[in-house]
């Protein structure tokens, strides 16, 4: 951890260590992957590996994968996974794919960290930026985060979305707006919600353009890149249409996310609410919930215009709390981005509380789920209460990080207030 000398050996050691850890879990604990795949905290209806297997089976037997209403994931997963040798006979290839995706994610994070964007963006340079963690530490924190490992072992397909998002950001900070837009289109194609990240990502790309081929006009820049996203998305949809032979996949994938037709419990806040809801209010509250989720984009992008990466981080946190089918995979993505802000950690006020709340929720969640589903001695309220606590922990982290970042900016504006105690009102 100490210092700039990150040799090739250490890098390789980190990656090999992470890969070996995952392989060891896959092979030494053969029951664990299936156990984790069944956990609602890891697998949601739109990311479950089991459902992917079902879709794959239908696809390989020339039936529409969306028949039966089990598979709700993007069609392009199907050719990808049919290319691999069959999971039933050679699971190792699937394992290797997932491990590779995790390592790619770590690599993208590494690049984001080394760009120094978190400490000094084009419009703002934090006075505290010297105190930061190297890419090595940040990649290690991501790779050995239990949530990341559990997601990988549970083979949730959300890791592909994570991969696309991280690469979009990595491309953006390294001054490759085109790549960023393509990666974001992939992410949006896979999970839809990353489209919400487009505005801050555009800002980030705009700020980090290479001077030799910069587009000066922001309007022109935005319109070019939005049309790139639209184009890539259209292309992906067309390919999906060709693969599945109908447009049925649109309602079955994005429709399910928009209308929350599958009410399997998860760690989010939607399912319980919509179980309890009378049908006549359903569409209204769907609109309200989606509006709520998307309303943060504009506000944050405007308020923290000078640090678009902060906006992206905070949005990832907000999405992990409020999206319709969240899982710990989304939290692991958010937690992967948070250490980039090592320099504002001293300004955070509730780090212990946040850590304690998240840990308590992590342990009480499965216990209460067990009481509800298996022991039969609890009910749905038990688990829902814990998902509320889980949401609370994450929102505390989002708020606290936001406070720290804003305070950091504010101290640059008001140097006389450095170190003074302030109160939020």
């Amino acid at each position: 951890m100490d210092g700039g000398k990150v040799t090739l050996g250490r890098t390789a050691g980190l990656y090999i260590g992470a890969a070996v850890l995952r392989l060891a879990i896959f092979t030494l604990l053969p029951g664990l992957p299936d156990l984790l795949t069944g956990r609602v905290e890891i697998s949601t209806p739109v990311t479950s590996f089991k459902r992917l297997q079902e879709g794959l089976f239908l696809y390989n037997h020339n039936v529409s994968p969306y028949d039966g209403g089990v598979y709700h994931q993007a069609p392009l997963f199907l050719p990808l996974f049919s290319l691999l040798p069959s999971f039933a006979t050679y699971p190792i290839f699937t394992y290797l794919l997932y491990i590779a995706v995790d390592l790619l994610n770590a690599r993208a994070l590494w690049r984001i960290a080394n760009s120094g964007e978190a400490g000094s963006s084009a419009l703002f340079t934090s006075p505290r930026r010297e105190k930061r963690w190297s890419g090595f530490v940040i990649a290690a924190v991501f790779l050995f985060n239990p949530f990341t490992v559990a997601t990988c072992i549970g083979r949730s397909t959300s890791v592909f979305t994570t991969c696309a998002i991280l690469h979009a950001i990595a491309k953006a900070v390294s001054g490759a707006p085109l790549g960023a837009m393509v990666a974001l289109s992939f992410a949006s194609y896979l999970s839809m919600y990353p489209l919400l990240l487009l505005p801050p990502l555009l800002l980030l790309c705009y700020d980090r353009q290479r001077p030799e081929r910069a587009v000066k006009s922001s309007l022109a820049f935005a319109s070019i890149h939005v049309s790139i996203v639209a184009g890539v998305l259209a292309l992906l949809f067309q390919m999906s249409y060709l693969i599945t032979g109908s447009w049925e996949f649109l309602p079955s994938t994005y429709g399910v996310q928009l209308t929350l037709s599958d009410l399997t419990p998860n760690v989010g806040l939607w399912w319980y609410f919509f179980i309890e809801m009378f049908d006549s209010f359903r569409s209204f509250f769907l609109a309200v919930f989606w509006l709520h989720l998307s309303c943060y984009v504009g506000g944050l992008s405007v308020r923290i215009r000078r640090q678009p990466l902060v906006v992206l981080t905070l949005l990832l946190g907000i999405i992990a709390i409020f999206k319709p089918y969240p899982s710990i995979s989304d939290t692991s993505l958010f937690l992967a981005m948070v250490p980039l802000y090592r320099h504002v950690f001293p300004l955070m006020r509730y780090s212990f509380v946040i850590a304690a709340v998240i840990m308590y929720a992590t342990f009480l969640g499965p216990a209460f789920y067990h009481l509800w589903i298996y022991a039969g001695s609890g009910n749905a309220n038990f688990f829902y209460a814990i998902t509320l606590v889980w949401g609370l922990g994450q929102s505390l982290l989002v708020c606290d990080l936001m406070f720290a970042v804003l305070r950091d900016e504010w101290e640059v504006e008001r140097p006389e207030m450095v170190g003074k105690e302030i109160r939020q009102i």
Binding site: M1, D2, G3, G4, V6, N114, G116, E130, K131, R132, W133, S134, G135, V137, R342, F345, P346, L347, M348, R349, F352, A356, M359, Y360, F363, L364, A367, F368, H370, L371, Y374, A375, G376, S377, G378, R407, V418, G419, K420, E421, I422, R423, I425
Partner: protein, 904 residues
């Protein structure tokens, strides 16, 4: 004038306010508290003694008129009333003086409303509702305040409506009557009326004349003698200003507004107005300096509080447990599920079935000592002959170097009136848990199966399950029934029926007649069957058959405190160990309610009587329309008809678990303080007081705690995987290593690293945080285990590194030895000695339970308790490096990056 709000709340001011409460108010609060404490004990019912009961009001009981305001129903009642009363009474007293308050509140202001209440209640309503509590005073005072407000500020304007301000207490009265359960509307109304009358000045003549009071005051020199006394002579000391208190002046270091109570706008008196403005002005000026909550947070006294608080939690948690057997805290059992109708049908088992039973018993006796397969070969034709479909299932378990294999035989009686979607199981194991031959149980089960076949009223299938032993056999069968088995060890079931609704196991190994019935109900991992099932069996056995029932091997139970406590503690111990206690135990984790019936004692009840109990229970289960769900799943039984439910007992374990969390938080705060304080003075430029807590060096402490957790996998693995013969040597070796490991680790930490005190604090903080977290999660799954471990680990909250001094070495060693006495190994050994068990057999049973029934108690012992204990031992043996040494080394590093990390 500023209105009170949350942001403006200042703990300093609140504290000052509390310190400056005048004498009579304090006395009243103390009396309320005292009477509440008196009400906690059970011997003398203070509430019956002092409440205002209209019918009991005679000449000799007039004291009730004055005692009732002090006595409250429960702690919340007392607390709420005290909260409401304090500001009002404080104001009244500081305005009229202590003596006047005393006279009025022990005179007319209490008796008048009380008389009004009694009059209306007794002679008009002809009822007899007892009232108690200070809320009547609250309304008296509110009434007076409201009239004063009305005089100064007559109307509230809401929209275009003018609402007279004197009506506000009426709104409050209605709210209280509507929202607060069992509040006395009439009593409050009486209080309010008297308050209005008093406020309008019609009761002035009742107040003692000032002259007399002054005389008394002067004679007795009350002002000089009593602290916080408010004189009658307001003119001397300023009517609303500084309280003319003879108590010590407030500490000058704490600047505070002298009239901390937020003054409403209606105070018309000019003197008061000006005074308040002046003082609130200063308060506003200080607001910037005193950010109240933060101020309190830094109070060093607050940091000293947590150990006491956490000790209090542990003590309350433990004492709570011993209160549970009292009548006030436990409840009588009752049947919740009305469909069960226990004991409502005639049972016909008996008569010629007795001969059938003898014939089967003859067959079974002939099979004693034969191999499992031979037995099944002989029994299967018998069962088949009854017209039941039969099947067999093989299973093999390996644990502690032994093989537990066997073959289950089971048969399904298809319900004449059912659709095979539900089933009830009748289990008889060839051997019970003590490895005695189930001599009468097997023939009885066969006879019952034959008898059940003759009836056409079954709406659920009945499964007869005959297993070779009491633990592995039923476990294998239930696992396979729910397709949760490992096919390599346990064969799948060739024949299945519907969802299991209940199971009853017969364990009748004793020869001859019996006296009473022992119900065994503990499941694996402390899970329990629905209380309704136990209640049904109790009600059938006692009510219908006249057979007495015992629980938890309490063969004689006199239903007194001692026996109840003993039953409860035995139940908790069994629950905590989480072992299977009979053939029924394996069913319970699958949410199948099950009990084992074991007859005991010498009496005149015969096998037919037990058969009738089983028949009655099956008839009740047969009635069920849905799975048992009405009654409790979490309870502690202390007598066959007395229990406490989770709501009553859970706080005990939660308090014990919370004590660890409190200490963890306290240590976290402390670890930040010790460095923060030093650095802030030395170098105020680099440290931002805004984040007062200094940055903590987390990586080493986290590493140590992680190391402890990782090490814990070793004993868990070893104790569950070595053969039985090696268990005792392993235990001895491990116990020795366990004693040596902390000193070695501690020595390494002291020599190889520069661990500061703050870092040791962090080690303890993380370890306690984890412990508290695990235990509070566990308390929801297995209350008893969480409580037992929590109490055994409680000393870990209070261990501290010894500061260097000549005697510290000795103290350290003494403390380490003491802590060794509560180590997992020592406790295991002590338990084995106390119950006269072999350590080897204890460890073997644990390993078998781990492999066969999936008992998780070993995980809790080795992976929750042991690492926490290890960390605690490291804390005791700690020799922290001086803070300056490491401050140089890792200046403000957050995770050991030494502040040297630069971009790459």
């Amino acid at each position: 004038m500023p209105t009170p709000n949350v942001a403006g709340f200042s703990t300093l001011r609140a504290r000052a306010y509390l310190f400056r409460l005048p004498l009579f108010t304090r006395a009243v609060l103390a009396a309320i508290g005292l009477f509440w404490i008196l009400g906690v004990q059970v011997w003398w019912d203070v509430r019956a003694w002092g409440a205002l009961v209209p019918d009991k009001l005679g000449f000799a009981t007039l004291y009730r008129l004055n005692t009732f305001p002090f006595i409250h129903l429960n702690v919340f009642h007392a607390l709420m009333n005290a909260l409401a009363l304090t500001p009002l009474l404080e104001r009244f007293e500081s305005e009229y003086g202590t003596l006047t308050s005393l006279a009025l509140f022990f005179g007319p202001l209490t008796t008048l409303p009380a008389f009004m209440y009694v009059a209306v209640e007794k002679w008009i309503l002809r009822a007899d509702t007892a009232v108690m509590g200070a809320s009547m005073w609250v309304f008296v005072l509110l009434g007076m305040e409201a009239i004063r407000t009305y005089k100064a500020n007559p109307y509230l304007v809401v929209g275009t409506h003018h609402i007279p301000t004197w009506t506000t207490p009426i709104a409050l009265l209605l709210c209280v009557a509507a929202l607060v359960p069992s509040s006395s509307f009439l009593g409050h109304l009486a209080g309010l009326l008297v308050g209005y009358i008093c406020g309008l000045g019609y009761l002035k003549f009742l107040a003692p004349p000032e002259r007399v009071l002054r005389w008394v005051e002067g004679k007795l020199n009350l002002l000089g003698r009593l602290p916080h006394y408010v004189s009658v002579d307001q003119k001397t000391y300023g009517r609303f200003g500084v309280l003319p208190s003879s108590g010590s002046p407030p500490p000058t270091s704490v600047a505070l507004p002298l009239y901390p109570y937020p003054v409403p706008e209606h105070q018309a008196q000019p003197s008061r107005e000006s005074f308040c403005e002046e003082h609130l002005g200063t308060a506003a000026g200080q607001d910037a300096k005193i950010t109240s909550a933060l101020q309190l947070r830094r109070d060093p006294r607050i940091l000293k509080l947590p150990p006491y608080l956490s000790l209090l939690f542990v003590v309350v948690g433990a004492v709570w447990l011993f209160l549970l057997p009292l009548d006030q805290y436990s409840r009588r059992t009752y049947i919740s599920e009305n469909a069960l109708l226990p004991g409502q049908v005639h049972t016909y088992f008996g008569g010629s079935d007795q001969n059938v039973f003898r014939a089967y018993k003859h067959e079974v006796n002939a099979l004693a000592g034969k191999s499992n397969v031979e037995i099944n070969n002989s029994l299967e034709p018998i069962v088949k002959g009854l017209g039941l479909k039969t099947a067999r299932q093989n299973f093999t378990y390996h644990a502690a170097g032994r093989t537990y294999a066997g073959e289950n035989l089971y048969a399904i009686l298809q319900a004449p009136r059912g659709d095979a979607t539900e089933a009830i199981v009748l289990v008889a194991a060839w051997e019970n848990v003590k490895h005695e031959l189930n001599r009468n149980g097997i023939p009885l089960a066969l006879t019952l199966a034959r008898y059940f076949k003759r009836w056409s009223l079954w709406s659920k299938d009945i499964i007869l399950l005959l297993t070779p032993d009491s633990i592995a056999g039923p476990q294998a069968w239930v696992d396979a029934y729910h397709d949760a088995h490992d096919p390599s060890r346990v064969a799948s079931l060739p024949l299945k029926s519907g969802l299991l609704q209940g199971a009853i196991a017969i364990d009748y190994a004793q020869e001859g007649r019996f006296e009473s019935l022992h119900i065994v109900y503990d499941g694996v991992n402390g899970q329990l069957p629905n209380l309704d099932l136990i209640n049904s069996v109790v009600s059938i056995a006692r009510g219908q058959m006249g057979i007495d029932v015992a629980l938890q091997e309490m063969w004689r139970h006199s239903d007194d405190y001692k026996d109840r406590l003993r039953t409860m503690l035995r139940g908790m111990l069994k629950q905590g160990l989480g072992l299977a206690s009979g053939p029924h135990s394996s069913f319970i984790p699958y949410h199948v309610d099950a009990v084992t019936l074991r007859p005991f004692g010498e009496g005149w009840q015969d096998e037919m009587a037990l058969g009738r109990v089983v028949e009655g229970s099956f008839r009740s289960l047969n009635n069920l329309l849905e799975h048992l769900h009405q009654s409790f799943f979490f309870y502690l039984l202390m007598h066959r008809e007395r229990f406490v439910s989770i709501g009553t007992y859970l706080p005990s374990a939660m308090l014990v678990a919370a004590n660890f969390t409190i200490m963890a938080i306290a240590l976290w705060v402390k670890s930040g303080h010790s460095e923060g304080g030093g650095q802030a003075t030395a170098d105020s430029k680099t440290v931002t007081p805004a984040n007062h807590a200094a940055e903590r060096d987390l990586s080493l402490p986290l590493g140590v705690v992680t190391l402890c957790q990782v090490l814990s996998v070793i004993p868990l693995y070893l104790f569950n995987h070595v053969p039985e013969s090696a268990l005792t040597p392993l235990f001895i070796t491990f116990a020795l290593l366990n004693t040596l490991l902390p000193p070695v680790l501690s020595h390494l930490l002291a020599t190889k690293t520069t661990f500061t005190l703050a870092q040791y604090d962090l080690v303890q903080c993380f370890s306690l945080l984890l412990l508290g977290m695990f235990l509070s999660s566990l308390a929801t799954l297995n209350f008893s285990l969480a409580l037992i471990i929590g109490l055994l680990a409680a000393p870990l909250s209070f261990v501290r590194p010894f500061s260097p001094s000549p005697t510290s070495g000795l103290k350290r060693i003494a403390c380490a030895v003491l802590l060794n006495a509560v180590s997992p190994t020592a406790v295991l050994l002590a338990g084995a000695l106390y119950w006269r068990l072999d350590v080897r057999s204890v460890l073997r049973d644990a390993a078998v339970a781990w492999h066969v029934t999936g008992t998780y108690s070993p995980v809790v012992v080795w992976c929750v308790w042991w690492p926490a204990w290890l960390a605690g031992q490291l804390i005791v043996l700690a020799r922290p490096a001086p803070a300056s040494a490491s401050a140089r080394r890792s200046n403000g590093a957050w995770a050991g990056d030494d502040g040297k990390v630069k971009g790459e």
